[in-house]
């Protein structure tokens, strides 16, 4: 590795690509040593698995959704982008139709810092990383749907596509004449999916502000009681320092809605091609998708009027199941069953004998269900943290893994990028994109399949770069006509 000297006069001077990986990942031989520890059968099997599922082989295999064509007309939110990413990674052809000024998500960047945006090498336009990370395998086409001729072009595309995903305020597309009611007349096989925050109908349906501002995540998290139930109790941290209902750091309701939309779209696709020959109208909302996976919280209220409360980084349903502060960060330890409970005791007591005594002798903590009581959680985690205070995450992980306890360090994103297992298996990879250069990104979790793995072919796309390609391919519009349309403001 070559050394380079830099003079730091400005924070921007340290904005340089980081080498990745810093240390090379383990080799197959080193991994085999670990597989071997569980016996020759385990070794055989996992090695065979690596052969048939290996990430490196993904481009040598077919794609599951080849031949499916998707139009993603949504803007602003991550839900439609994530949904079409999932479909695109699995092989569908996804055309992202953006207004001529682009999807507003392109221009978002953390703290407004343009130095965190990437410039493409064709048009020289800046694009935010959130947009680029989610713009996987999709074509970027501009089209002005506010213009009647733009809508005509849109309608001409409809007979040639299978799926339309949109997220405009309720009824907007219907009003413009390109809603499900109208498009299904043109193409009865069309599957039309609307992904929003609260809904297209109902007393609290999606709305825009007086000035036309859209409703974005985390309204979804707020409406389904996720935010109310997340965070530290004021008994642990003061309000304003974390003892408040807290939102997720990610736009989680959007992501959950996006993937449920993908599930519903694929189910509708299956139904169309197996049974009915017809498409349908699908509605998915962020609030409802997150509510479905909010464990049992609303059902608990309906059971005995309990309103779920915040428990910080602890879980009220299992013990041990939390992370607690340790010497160099936070360490997560999990283990609910008796077997794991006593193993945790054995592990910690090697360094801290009092733990075993105070835990094992206590009649309150004998029965698994009883360990979920609040006082049991307080005692257990207080004692666990006494041990954690003196060791680092690495040390704790090593000790706990010896006892086969599910434990993991709380990692920041640079540590995630360097974690030995993730490097081996390529949770994170670098793609050499044709327009943006090398980008570090998170690979699709569905990339490990025997026959049709998901894959990322390109990441990010300059605005409208595929206009010529797509319009010529689907609508026979040549470059001259395209220029005219652009001048009229239709493209």
């Amino acid at each position: 590795m070559t050394k380079e000297e830099i003079e730091i006069k400005d924070p921007k001077d340290v904005l340089r690509p980081r080498p990745w990986p810093v240390t090379p990942p383990a080799t197959l031989e080193e991994a085999k040593e670990i597989y071997r520890k569980r016996g020759p059968e385990a070794l055989d099997y996992v090695v065979w698995l690596e052969e048939i599922l290996g990430y490196e082989k993904r481009f040598t295999k077919p794609e599951a959704l080849t031949g499916i064509r998707v139009l993603d007309v949504g803007i602003w939110r991550l839900s439609n982008a994530f949904c079409s990413s999932l479909l695109a990674e699995l092989g569908a052809e996804v055309i992202k139709i953006e207004p001529p000024t682009g999807d507003p998500l392109r221009y978002l960047t953390p703290f407004g810092r343009e130095e965190y945006m990437l410039r493409d090498n064709v048009k020289g336009e800046l694009c935010g990383l959130e947009f680029i990370h989610e713009m996987r395998n999709k074509y970027s086409v501009t089209l002005n749907l506010e213009h009647p001729e733009g809508r005509e072009l849109f309608k001409k595309l409809i007979p040639q596509v299978d799926i339309v995903i949109e997220n405009y305020p309720p009824g907007y597309f219907d009003q413009l004449g390109i809603g499900y009611r109208q498009l299904s007349k043109i193409n009865p096989r069309l599957i039309y999916c609307w992904i929003g925050i609260l809904g297209q109908w109902g007393p609290m349906k999606d709305r825009v502000s007086k000035f036309g501002q859209w409703m974005l995540e985390p309204f979804g998290q707020v409406a389904c009681s996720f935010v109310h139930n997340t965070g530290y109790p004021p008994d642990f941290l003061p309000r304003g320092s974390g003892g408040d209902p807290t939102r997720s750091g990610a736009y989680i309701a959007d992501l959950v809605a996006g993937e449920q939309a993908a599930v519903n779209i694929l189910a509708a696709l299956w139904y169309r091609d197996e049974v009915s020959g017809k498409g349908q109208f699908i509605e998915v909302t962020a609030a409802e998708a997150l509510m479905e996976i909010l464990d049992f919280d609303i059902s608990w209220y309906a059971f005995n009027r309990s309103i779920k409360a915040r428990t910080g980084s602890w879980d009220p349903n299992l013990n041990q199941y939390a992370w607690n502060p340790c010497k160099d960060g936070y360490m997560m330890i999990g283990g609910q069953s008796d077997r794991l409970w006593y193993r945790i005791g054995m592990c910690i007591s090697r360094d801290f004998p009092q733990f075993e005594r105070l835990i094992s002798e206590d009649p309150l903590l004998k029965e698994m269900a009883a360990r979920n009581a609040l006082e049991a959680l307080i005692k257990t985690y207080t004692l666990t943290t006494m041990w954690l205070r003196n060791i680092t995450r690495d040390q704790a992980e090593e000790k706990l893994m010896e006892y086969e306890i599910a434990a993991g360090p709380l990692q920041y994103l640079d540590e995630v990028a360097e974690y030995y297992h993730f490097k081996y298996r390529k949770y994170i990879d670098i793609i050499e994109d044709e327009y943006y250069g090398p980008i570090l990104y998170c690979t699709p979790p569905l990339a490990y399949q025997h026959r049709t793995p998901a894959r990322v072919k390109w990441l990010g796309r300059p605005l409208g770069i595929d206009n010529e390609h797509i319009y010529s391919k689907y609508l026979g519009i040549g470059p001259t006509q395209l220029r005219e349309l652009k001048e009229k403001g239709i493209i």
């Binding site: 996992v46 309720p170 501002q213 974390g242 997720s248 879980d315 609910q336 297992h421 298996r425 949770y427």
Partner: protein, 469 residues
């Protein structure tokens, strides 16, 4: 010659067939009609004819199958005899259980933690360790489209029912393995949702910033379990679709910790290209301002005995990031100077600006209740919403009308509330539905072993006595 003038007949006034009515009615009414929650059970199911085996535990892998079950697939859950899925023993503060679990354990119930992961499924028991189990599994596999399992890699293989063996038995079979890590040095590591949140990076971006005295906080639900489970379902449906063309099954190996990193958005490219490690930013947003959750002075229910209502019902989500909205917000809270100072979005987004703006907002709200704040902002045309709690979600007319919150009469357990379920996929032709929340351990042993697989009752009795099922 005078012409007779025919009165003009408007199209909207002509009575027509129902399809025409659907064309003419206002959009909201149209949506209410085609997504009508009352008509759910009159409509067909998307995945009718698919049979799936759920050899799963906890939430992650079961949820990948319960999505299929909500869509109409026939799913069979296989549990350990008498004990069942360990998730049955989770319950908030040990307080909420439904009974029975199994007649041999009359005092043990199934905790509400088991909810939503195994809906609509048929529950059987089987002890895979016994030699008889192998042939039983083969028979089930021949009759099914796929299975999902979550055991340590190599375990099913050792038992003779790994992908390598099942591929031969049923070439159309789709085999799904879900776990923490997948192949690689940590392949045998156990995993939980909370481990995924911690190790994948999602926890490092959630919670209040260190400089404010905050710590990373756990999402209240087992989000990595649930959200990864659904992503597996996407893979399953894609594999099913591909199988129509080729007739081939496949294996999907899925790591849930991977999904945690996937949710981190711009954090990874930001580190790779610029070396910046994304930190927590509390209840504010890193990319939009104003777009965050503020604390108001008074709760909406100051006298309620329940502390969640009395103390906690006082947070509001406010969103006014476009220039005009932000200007209006500044005037509403009596701080036009903030508008003068931060006229562009870029200016407002700076961390110091955000601290000043949200500080001003909370100062303005400090003498008001939550509903007052929401009312004032909404009347000004801005977007604001109270942070709702479980009771308010239950009482929300919006969710009731849409069928998101729905009481069902569970056949075994009685009156239970379903959250989400039906509405997580409103499909106009093949809506999702929930029939029952779960069933006791082994409730469908006869139904599956005798009625589906054809084993005689005496055999099933023998197995039960020997502890094989």
């Amino acid at each position: 010659m005078r012409e007779k003038v025919k009165p003009e007949i408007k199209f909207e006034d002509i009575p027509g067939p129902e399809e025409l009515e659907l064309e003419k009615m206002p959009f909201e009414e149209y949506c209410r009609k085609i997504f009508d929650p009352k008509k759910t059970f009159e409509k067909p199911e998307a995945l009718k004819g698919i049979r799936w085996l759920s050899c799963t535990m906890y939430i992650f892998t079961p949820h990948s199958v319960s999505n299929l079950a909500e869509l109409g697939a026939e799913c069979i859950k296989i549990e350990m005899p008498r004990v069942g899925d360990p998730m049955r023993h989770t319950s908030p503060f040990n307080e909420a259980y439904l009974y029975p679990l199994h007649d041999t354990r009359p005092l043990t119930g199934t905790g509400l933690g088991f909810m939503n992961a195994n809906l609509n499924e048929y529950f059987i028991t089987l002890d895979y360790h016994r030699p008889e189990a192998r042939e039983i599994v083969y028979n089930l596999v021949r009759m099914s489209d796929g299975l999902t399992e979550c055991y340590r890699p190599g375990t099913f293989y050792r038992w003779g029912i790994g992908y390598k063996q099942l591929m031969e038995i049923n070439p159309r079979f789709i085999y799904v393995w879900g776990g923490g890590f997948g192949y690689g040095p940590k392949v045998f590591g156990g995993s939980y949702d909370i481990l995924g949140q911690a190790q994948g990076g999602l926890a490092s971006i959630t919670g209040f910033h260190e400089d404010f005295g905050g710590h990373p906080v756990k999402h209240t639900n087992w989000v990595i379990d649930w959200y990864s489970g659904t992503m597996i379902t996407v893979g399953i449906l894609a594999a099913l679709y591909w199988r129509r063309k080729t007739g081939l099954g496949t294996m999907i190996e899925f790591s849930q910790v991977h999904c945690s990193t996937r949710a981190c958005g711009y954090g990874i490219p930001l580190y790779g290209r610029f070396g910046i490690v994304r930190q927590r930013w509390g209840n504010w947003d890193t990319q939009l301002c104003v777009h965050g959750i503020i604390r108001t002075g008074k709760s909406d229910y100051p006298d309620d005995p329940n502390p969640q209502l009395r103390e906690e019902a006082r947070y509001v989500m406010v969103s006014a990031f476009q220039d005009q909205d932000f200007r209006e917000l500044c005037y509403v809270i009596g701080r036009p100077d903030l508008w003068e100072k931060y006229k562009t979005h870029k200016e407002r987004l700076k961390p110091e600006a955000q601290m000043e703006i949200y500080g001003a907002l909370e100062q303005w709200a400090a003498d008001k209740t939550r509903s007052e704040v929401v009312e004032i902002l909404t009347n000004a045309g801005l977007l604001a919403m109270p942070v709702m709690n479980d009771k308010e979600v239950y009482e929300c007319q919006h969710f009731r009308e849409r069928g998101t919150i729905r009481w069902i009469e569970d056949p075994i357990f009685g009156d239970v509330l379903v959250q989400g379920g039906f509405s997580v996929g409103m499909l106009s032709e093949t809506p999702r539905r929930v029939r029952w929340v779960w069933r006791p351990v082994g409730a469908d042993n006869i139904r599956v072993y005798h009625e589906l697989l054809g084993y005689p009752i005496s055999k099933i009795k023998e197995w039960y006595e020997k502890g094989i099922i």
